[in-house]
């Protein structure tokens, strides 16, 4: 089997598995919506205030939703031993792992893009910034999956990896959060945002190239 076929086979397999267990797809999405609805309840429903902090709310919620969904990335494969088979295959583990991360993002990250505009309207964000919000989510959520994969690969073998995972992953999410929410905020006030978008793009490509290696190395370590 050639490398590209193995790569796409992994993506297909993970997508099929996710479709069979729809609750795993729905959970992060529901969490995302729930957290965002908590904010107006918690801080009061003044439209001005909500509008001002809407980009931050949406992005922090996306961050938390991405983090919560991470556990499903390697958990079942680790438990039933198929992860071991993937790592034992003659193809470079990092490429196959990248396939798993992409499938995971398609299942957990992409749905956020679909509901985010709706929630943004609920929070009173100006409509002209919705495009930028979607763009930052499109560029930023894959980075969250890629960086998160490193953290989850380090902790997948642990019994209580949940708390430690947040400590590992959230500090590394900071740059994405800063640039993305800043871009949306700038767009809301009608300022140019190409600088932030370009930096997000470069972070995405850096993560795409660099993140699969430590992930594969950490998985090999966790399997032992």
């Amino acid at each position: 089997m050639s490398l590209s076929r193995a790569f796409f086979a992994i993506i297909r397999r993970d997508l099929v598995l996710a479709l069979r267990r729809r609750s795993e797809v729905a959970n992060p999405l529901l969490f995302f919506v729930l957290v965002i609805t908590l904010f107006p309840l918690g801080i009061g429903a003044q439209p001005k205030l909500l509008q001002a902090i809407a980009p931050g709310i949406i992005w922090v919620s996306a961050l938390l939703a991405a983090m919560l969904s991470l556990d499903s990335l390697f958990r079942s494969d680790f438990d039933d031993g198929s992860l071991e088979q993937i790592l034992l295959s003659p193809h470079p583990a990092s490429v196959l792992i990248l396939g798993k991360i992409i499938a995971h993002w398609l299942v957990t990250g992409l749905p956020l893009l679909i509901v985010a505009p709706l929630l943004a309207v609920f929070l009173g964000m100006p409509t002209h910034s919705l495009g930028i919000l979607l763009l930052t989510l499109l560029l930023g959520t894959p980075v969250l999956s890629l960086i998160g994969a490193i953290g989850v690969a380090l902790t997948v073998g642990l019994r209580r990896g949940g708390m430690i995972l947040s400590l590992l992953v959230l500090p590394l999410y900071v740059p994405v959060l800063i640039f993305a929410s800043n871009a949306v905020e700038m767009a809301s006030s009608g300022l140019p945002v190409s600088a932030q978008i370009n930096i997000l793009i470069s972070i995405l490509f850096m993560a795409l190239v660099l993140a699969p290696w430590p992930t594969a190395a950490a998985l090999k370590m966790s399997i032992n």
Binding site: L172, V174, N182, L210
Partner: protein, 254 residues
């Protein structure tokens, strides 16, 4: 490797052996303590007595003799940790792994000291304990990175595996440190205009600078001392079943 003279290479090869390291550091330690005490005494004397008071901040600027060296050390130790971790990953040198994990608590303490002293200084100077300024925020995130390393090491039972995990995490973190630093800087400058953080520091006077550098050196030596102590304990724990440890302990008992 070709540029390094042979005796130096041999020295490092021998240091990678735990019994040799243990013996060597035992002899090194008194010297390090003496150097540390001398540097700290002269540095503090120069900083607290000889250096003049700042014309704007009065005497409260003197906290920089603790604050600035700890901030430097917090970054330096992270880099040391990542390099030691990488060496441990690539060449499987046990001692490098131990150096990496033993550096983490020391680095975290220096980061905490830098944050704490900065906050103490900020209250009278800026009128607030904390601002979400670029420097402060990235230092806080650095503290979280250290805590992540310590937490991960504690969570994994097999210490050889844990060392590898820590090395990977430290290396990922080192890629992120410049990104975090600059992103936070950007975020801040884009976010709010000039605030209290604009210090407009005049280039520092020599009588203030020399004690600062002395303190920085003394902190480096302190790091070395603390590191060696931690590494020795960790070595004894990990090698407790080997002959040389048994021999050592029997020797001490007599």
């Amino acid at each position: 490797m070709f540029l390094v003279p042979d005796p130096v290479v041999r020295f490092f090869h021998r240091m990678a052996s735990p019994p040799h390291f243990y013996r060597f550091t035992e002899r090194l330690m008194p010297w390090l303590v003496v150097i540390f005490l001398l540097l700290t005494a002269t540095g503090l004397y120069g900083g607290l007595y000889l250096a003049p008071a700042d014309y704007q901040q009065g005497d409260s600027y003197r906290i920089i003799y603790i604050h600035v060296p700890s901030a430097w050390m917090s970054l330096f130790i992270y880099v040391v940790m990542a390099i030691a971790g990488a060496i441990g990953l690539v060449w499987r040198i046990k001692l490098a792994e131990i150096v990496a994990i033993s550096s983490a608590p020391i680095g975290a303490s220096f980061t905490f000291i830098a944050l704490f002293t900065g906050s103490l200084w900020g209250k009278p100077m800026w009128g607030t304990w904390w601002v979400w300024d670029a420097r402060l925020t990235s230092e806080l995130i650095l503290l979280f990175l250290y805590l992540g390393v310590i937490g991960l090491y504690g969570a994994i039972d097999d210490k050889r595996v844990a060392s590898k995990a820590v090395a990977i995490l430290a290396l990922v973190g080192v890629v992120n440190i410049p990104i975090i630093h600059y992103s936070v800087e950007w975020w801040n400058t884009l976010h709010q205009g000039p605030t209290v953080t604009k210090m407009d520091k005049p280039s520092i006077h020599v009588t203030m600078l020399i004690p600062l550098l002395l303190m920085a050196l003394s902190f480096n030596v302190y790091y070395l001392i603390a590191l060696i102590l931690r590494v020795r304990v960790e070595l004894l724990q990990r090698e407790r079943n080997t002959q040389w440890v048994k021999y050592r302990i029997l020797e001490n008992r007599q």
